[in-house]
């Protein structure tokens, strides 16, 4: 049973998160340790394993990039090794520029405005790429799956940038 079947939902990139969350809670109740208080050790162990499995499934389907990756792997798409270097020069040049812009935020005249501008640019580019990937995933042929895979790798660079933005925001406004 794959993760989508586990939650009784359609295997698609578009997931109703509220529905997913309520199905998750219902499923977790069926394997709650309280229910197995008087069960055998083996039954208790199986319940714990099931609970962990349900949790993995939920965490995967909840996050868009993990969900996309899961869908593509389920389709048997040959995902390039995570450690494999990415060599799209113009994309990487742009990524370097974004990182340089982020670095300059600290020394900007108006730090708030500079940070907001970076966040605006990042979220609009992230959204654009996500929508492109979503369309490619739903198209579901070997060319579109490959293209979706490529965009997923690009989105991971944005994900990392967003972590950096959050870190900077904390550092700037924490004190």
């Amino acid at each position: 049973m794959n993760y989508f079947q586990l939650f009784g939902i359609e295997a698609s990139f578009d997931v109703d998160l509220q529905n997913l969350s309520s199905n998750y809670q219902t499923l977790q109740k069926t394997v709650h340790p309280d229910k197995f208080a008087h069960a055998s050790e083996q039954e208790q162990r199986i319940a714990v394993q099931k609970s962990a499995h349900i949790n993995d499934a939920y965490q995967t389907l909840k996050q868009p990039l993990l969900r996309a990756e899961y869908i593509l792997i389920q389709r048997g798409v040959d995902m390039p090794n995570e450690q494999h270097s990415f060599g799209d020069t113009s994309f990487l040049m742009h990524q370097m520029e974004l990182r340089e812009t982020l670095e300059d935020v600290k020394s900007a005249g108006d730090v708030d405005a500079a940070l907001l501008e970076v966040q605006r640019v990042l979220s609009s580019e992230y959204l654009q790429l996500t929508q492109l990937m979503r369309a490619q995933i739903s198209e579901n042929n070997s060319a579109s799956n490959g293209a979706a895979c490529d965009n997923l790798r690009k989105l991971k660079f944005y994900q990392k940038l967003n972590v950096e933005v959050d870190r900077l925001e904390d550092a700037l406004f924490d004190d």
Binding site: Q83, L92, M93, F157
Partner: protein
């Protein structure tokens, strides 16, 4: 996880940080990235007419090991021919910096950056 002394040295005193004009025909630019950790690495080599690397600069956004790997590479390639530089292996980098297994991909990234720069140089020369 503790970094080795050599990684810390390169991280705290990175060699040859900077940029060159990527449109200069004698400048080769290698851009590589690692989606797993979001690291982005740029290696630039200034290459003489007889194919000797006269200068090298890098700019890396990434962890200490990625910065150290690219910093080390700029030191190593200077004075080498592009053929010799192309033979630098990630295992040499990892060994020199005593990188732990989880950081081997940083040395792979640095090796790939050299290769990408050499490719860029060849395509520029071919024009």
């Amino acid at each position: 996880m503790a970094y080795s002394e050599k990684v810390l040295d390169h991280y705290e005193n990175p060699r040859n940080v900077g940029s060159m004009d990527k449109n200069d025909p004698s400048v080769a630019t290698g851009m590589v990235g690692a989606p797993a950790c979001g690291d982005v690495m740029k290696l630039q080599l200034k290459i003489s007419k007889d194919g000797i690397i006269e200068d090298a600069k890098f700019k890396t956004y990434g962890c200490g090991s990625a910065i150290a790997s690219s910093s080390l590479v700029t030191e190593w390639v200077k004075g080498k021919s592009i053929e010799e530089a192309g033979k630098i292996k990630n295992t040499d980098i990892a060994e020199e910096l005593a990188l732990p297994p989880v950081k081997i991909h940083c040395s792979i990234l640095a090796e790939d950056a050299i290769k990408a720069a050499i490719e860029d140089y060849k395509s520029k020369q071919g024009k």
